[in-house]
Symmetry: C2
Subunit: 258 residues, 2 copies
């Protein structure tokens, strides 16, 4: 009889040690209960280190699985944000058709159409809630500073939490304003005057939008700096640091007072 | 007290005769029951002709209302066809997003998304059924020859049943192939060779599609001719003439035998 142990293959009373403990740990399944003690077999292979090595391997495997799952979660948020965009544009276009139909006549089909669009609207709210929940989990610090909505949008534009964490603050500041940024840069390259955009997606943040035009650039730069720090903490699974958002609030109060 | 009668306004025992009987007929509403016989008042105005004029006016008003309603029905079909197009494109784009999400993870949100798209698909079938029903009513002859689906598409491209009835057969033949038609015409104008399209929307008809390429032009011309006749009958509210579709079938059999 052959058995898959987490540290190797057991056959005829002998163990062939696995070359990759993490791999064998994950694949160690047996259809029947073991007729011997795996710990005894393990101690024959590792000696007194057995439990130490088991513990280390288990923790490593666990961390990798969690990381993989979390990596998938930022892709999930990004796919949700893109779904939301598509839903918004579909709903708008379908609403137009509904208006055309309603103008011509009220019919059962028109009523059903209205219901269907209403359900899509409701579903939009469900997606928004899901985005909020996942963002709170995978990017609590970014969410705390700019909210889950803007945070998710930044993530979507960056392509992953990893890339967002790698971005310098100056890039984060203009995410979502790429078009006007590149337009300005190409004008400058041709020796012309141009205004470089001061904010992209983060402009939606009330702390920027509510300030007078002259102070928005300063605030945007400040927030982008804090987002850059927050994204790094989030990427490396740090705790929620409420100091960051407190600083942002203080800066806003200071700028709006002046 | 003032009363609105179908032939004028009654006040203080006198009638001021309406200048537009059809208009006053439609607007003759009174909040309270009349304390006198309108027929007596009418005979004072029209003499013994009263009932004859009432009958004539009623028939005319009725015909106009029906015509208006029918005119609205072709607009309704056109709006339904355009809704169907929009739905198709929305469903395709949303399906793409669903696939992206499903690849990343199965979640409750994804399940609801799948349901919503399924409901849109079902709603598409409802619209198709409605189009069929209205087409059978307002364009039975066109529907008999090319089916409700192609018929509705011709109507949509023409803009109204009236315009479709005015089109020569040669135009009907290439409805939906405008792009390649104008491309060909502009090449010919510049003295170049070009293939003028032989069929547009009607190419979807199995009688054209199932024939060998060389015979399709002949069949398309024949069907377009019959559609032109059918559209005129339909527009002027003629009966269903099954001879037309019979001739189309015979022509098809004849062409596919040769």
């Amino acid at each position: 009889m052959k058995y898959n142990l987490w540290f190797g293959i057991y056959k005829d009373g002998k163990v062939r040690k696995s070359e990759n403990l993490k791999k064998s740990f994950i694949t160690a399944h047996n259809p029947e209960p073991l007729p011997f003690s795996p710990a005894d077999a393990g101690r024959e292979v590792f000696g007194d280190d057995y439990y130490g090595i088991l513990r280390k391997t288990a923790i490593e495997v666990c961390r990798e699985l969690v990381e993989k799952e979390l990596r998938r979660e930022d892709r999930y948020v990004i796919a949700l944000v893109r779904t939301l965009d598509e839903l918004n544009s579909s709903i708008n276009l379908l609403m137009e058709k509904l208006r055309d139909l309603k103008e011509i006549r009220e019919s059962e089909v028109v009523e059903v159409f209205e219901q269907r669009i209403g359900e899509l609207e409701k579903f939009k709210a469900e997606i928004e809630k899901e985005i909020e929940e996942v963002m709170r989990k995978i990017a609590p610090n970014v969410s705390e500073i700019v909210g889950e909505k803007i945070g998710a949008r930044l993530l979507e534009k960056a392509g992953s939490l990893e890339r967002l964490a790698e971005f310098p603050a100056s890039t984060i500041q203009v995410i979502g304003a790429e078009k006007s940024l590149f337009k300005a840069l190409s004008r400058i390259r041709r020796g012309k005057k141009a205004k470089v955009p001061k904010h992209g997606v983060i402009f939606q943040h009330p702390f920027i939008r509510n300030l007078p035009k002259k102070k928005r650039g300063k605030m945007a730069r400040f927030i982008a700096n804090k987002i850059a720090i927050a994204a790094r903490i989030d990427y490396f699974k740090g705790e929620l640091d409420e100091k960051l958002s407190e600083e942002v609030r203080k800066k806003y109060e200071q700028l709006s007072r002046k």
